[in-house]
Symmetry: C2
Subunit: 160 residues, 2 copies
Amino acid sequence: MAPLCSVFRRYLKSRGLKYTNERADVLDAIIARDGVFEAEELLLELRRRSQRVSKATLYRTIHLLQDAGIIVQALFNSKQSHFQLIYGRQPRDHMVCMKSGRLIEFQNEELIALRNRICRELGWSPVGHRFQIYAVSPDADGTKAPAHKGQGPRSQPRSR
Amino acid sequence: MAPLCSVFRRYLKSRGLKYTNERADVLDAIIARDGVFEAEELLLELRRRSQRVSKATLYRTIHLLQDAGIIVQALFNSKQSHFQLIYGRQPRDHMVCMKSGRLIEFQNEELIALRNRICRELGWSPVGHRFQIYAVSPDADGTKAPAHKGQGPRSQPRSR
DNA sequence: GTCGGTGCAAATGCTTTGCATTGAT
DNA sequence: ATCAATGCAAAGCATTTGCACCGAC
């Protein structure tokens, strides 16, 4: 499989766009994180590597990477967007603990098969999906941890 | 099954909160829409019925309804939140057309079973889930419709 | 040398909050 | 009467955009 940077490069070229240092740095930071990430975290990662990229450029690059099929949106709690590297990997789905906020990723062949079957039955052509399970992790069963900021199925009283 | 308003009422009472006209109106509007909705749409629905509810109250009520387990968040494209009535119904999952933006809901027993199995295998206890399929609907195959504002799997060039 | 890219600061747009007033119990 | 709820306008915050300067091809 071609390294990600050349995939990106090829994509950019095909669109008449340029492969700049900033764009390369962002992609590197994403590869380094290897998991679900949000924009702010990437900014920190970049700073850690003393690679300065402005917020504006970061967001613009994230969009390009989505178009290029290298990353996709993931998760859907909290108001900020989360992304994950997808190119050349099995798509991963997520399970979030409602008590501790712990997040794990998993893959499931059956899910894909089921997804495709559902589409076929309705006459649609599958392109992608997003699946997130809300659950309670075994290690958090008695705990009342700080919990994720997001908003999955609610149940706790709000602070107000 | 108890009517929704009394479920809501009971929830509010249990928290020492009040059942106000505004809250009742919001719930009614949600029931009337019966499907996925966003805050702004509810505001319109309310206005149509000449029931004036401020934006602030609407959002506050939406949170209460989530806590009460009457509605849940749904979808995850676009930046605004989408919700759907859930209390006393089978949870519905969604399929969004990447070309036309068309949205359909579906239910699938197998999905729930699969979800539970995945949880069990990992030792977690399922609470809920969110599943959205990105696909192309049969009727939109050749079309280049106005498409949803959201951001599922990207593929089209951005406007910039 | 050309366009496209970048950073900055300002703008957006959804959602939340502070506060004085109003209303349900 | 009391304590919560409402509406308004202001504040928040992640993300986007306008613009002048910079840099990849």
